[in-house]
Subunit: 460 residues, 2 copies
Amino acid sequence: MPESNLSTALEYCQQNRGRFLEELKSLISIPSISTDPNARPGIQRAAQWLADHLEHLGMKNVQILPTPGHPVVYGESLDAGPGKPIILIYGHYDVQPAEPLDLWHSPAFEPELRGDNLYGRGASDMKGQVLATLKAVESITKTGSLNINLKFLFEGEEEIGSPNLGPFIAVNTELLACDFALNPDAAMIAADIPTITYGLRGLAYFELRISGPRQDLHSGLYGGVVHNPAQALCELLSGMHDAQGRVTLPSFYDSVQPLSEEERDELRRLPIDDQYYLEQCGAPQLSGEAGFSALERVGARPTLEINGLLSGFTSEGIKTVLPAKAMAKISMRLVPDQDPTEVHQQLVRYMEMNAPSTVTWEVIKMAGSPPSITDRQMPAMEALSQALQETWGKKPVYKREGGSIPVVAQLSEFLGVDSIITGFGLPDDNLHAPNEKLNLPNFFRSVEALTRFFCILGEQ
Amino acid sequence: MPESNLSTALEYCQQNRGRFLEELKSLISIPSISTDPNARPGIQRAAQWLADHLEHLGMKNVQILPTPGHPVVYGESLDAGPGKPIILIYGHYDVQPAEPLDLWHSPAFEPELRGDNLYGRGASDMKGQVLATLKAVESITKTGSLNINLKFLFEGEEEIGSPNLGPFIAVNTELLACDFALNPDAAMIAADIPTITYGLRGLAYFELRISGPRQDLHSGLYGGVVHNPAQALCELLSGMHDAQGRVTLPSFYDSVQPLSEEERDELRRLPIDDQYYLEQCGAPQLSGEAGFSALERVGARPTLEINGLLSGFTSEGIKTVLPAKAMAKISMRLVPDQDPTEVHQQLVRYMEMNAPSTVTWEVIKMAGSPPSITDRQMPAMEALSQALQETWGKKPVYKREGGSIPVVAQLSEFLGVDSIITGFGLPDDNLHAPNEKLNLPNFFRSVEALTRFFCILGEQ
């Protein structure tokens, strides 16, 4: 597409901002919560919304494809022909649960514009980013022609660890065949710093169950006689970190690639220091593995976190119960070359070594995906770099991300392709938390940046 | 009352068993859950049921007396005159919550007879015992005359730590003036071993709240940067016991009266060994403070238990959240001469010494009552011993009880009277747990024993 056509496309972006916003609100208002078995109608509606939208955009072969879980939405445009690259655009239309509901200032599924921000569950993670890819394609196709081939792959299970996407990709390798994938599910460092993510942490998620007495006991009649399962759970969990903040599971660090001095220097140049993290999270003080900066700890070091704790009586008031069982949800974020299956074995080994004989235990594997690193020298990475630079007026930074995107590993495994990972969410978007929001000026900029990216790829 | 009158009274007990059972079912079917603000109608109905019953028994001055919480039910019979002792009969008509409901084999508030047992919340703790006192009095008054003076004091807040009973007693010392109290809220060691409790542990109950980040965070984007409050809570809780099972709160054992060798010998003679506890609770193995038997740990040593744990995401499935806060309910069982107020200070001091600066914390006092010991040589204790021996055909055993009965300390403090503590519940009655039950043959025996006790007191 010649430069003049790019300007027309960008002009289209600008002129249609009002409608783009209305469409975004419509998509966010669908409660497509993948963790909640009762929210299936929302999942179905969101999938249908996207399929209709792809049809409307002129995409071919649009399908809602079933999986054992939530469906995948597919659509393609292959008119640019075999001389041009095929880009697989990935997105997920499912969202996290909205609880705790009482902390939202406006209802989670009634998107509300306050100042420059649109509030609603999924606004930033990642319905805003999904719509940005669609609106970039629309801006090009409505004003000229697309010089690249596109395939859209929208899943509905990212927030539950994409359990069915790997098998789906494995049996649909021909349908999904491509040169590389675009994954806009990451975030920017700040609103004025375009960001490309070249490393992602993997995830291993478990439920740990401890059982003691046959049933709940009276804490007066039995307190002091048995090992309280809640106590045993606390002892086991607190032993999973040492005084230096290192994870104590046996062999946990054995396959962790050390950070090179060169990469540490590069990360140090990012405008993200400990003070930045302190302000973002509002904790009294930072904490973590000794010897690494906050940015290194989040991006390049593995971690273990408690995601949930439950035992005994937790309502208002008092109940003098000695609980029969206790449960924790824990997850590890993994870096190359850790493997979720090995981490599962390490956790079981830790329990075998440390669990006292006064209780019984069970480790349940809930989700797992390996970490990944993308080659920063590939041409499509350079095209994205240029598109971001032209949109924001400054070179993007490259970072390693603490989160996990299972599909990146799945696409690598089954299609043999790399993923270009970027994204336009901001650090204060309250992902997975109450009052999730999307910064609208940034959203409109993201539509323009993706329009430029697709045009540059068409010229390569 | 001459011997022949006692036989008539005991005959009455036997002949009216069917009706006693129906009355018991009627009382148990009232959901008088004191912890639940929505259950107030059940509380009111139970109080009214008892007041009506006292009237029907011919008690005078029957009143439902308000407190800032749940009401007290009062009634008296002073016709025996000033030459005879006044006995204050204590009971509580409130019950524990029934949750978890799905573990009950029959609905908690629809009492069901299976075999020798009547199942229902409160059957053993302590509606059965309350009714036993009423039926003993009825058996005497319907067949002859009462040679002692009685005052009934039934409260509705025992299961929430009797927060309003102390002040109530303090301002009603004249109404409640008595020679001693009878408190049948303890339990028997076994169905064939009548038991008198001469020591009770006190209770100090707290909610411990830990806060970290401003709000829930994404565990991928922030995991490794802040101290997870659930992790901090586990570390603090697991530090509250040392490797010998001793509580580590500063000065916790300073005012604990050591067990004398004589008392240890006496406790060793009770037919309760570690195997007994193991069978009762069904844990894989016993646990607790080193150097003491299970019976000593439960009765004569202080303990600290976690009653509840809550943090982050605890529903089905996964949520990769780093929670903003974590909560534990913990309680200590106290022995002479520990004091709940001092224990509160010790807990706060422990937190000051051990809580890391990466989180903030709060200790909320929920309930507190001191421990107590009753003189085994007082004449009324001997009357009870005789009544139990005549009913069961063997001498009762004397034990120290792990549970706490706040009213015992309150009656001592405000009326200056001792409490005679006994009870007819069995160790497998599932107090505070699903499928609470009352053994009926034992219940009928308890009516007879109390009938004998009141008659013997009248002869003293």
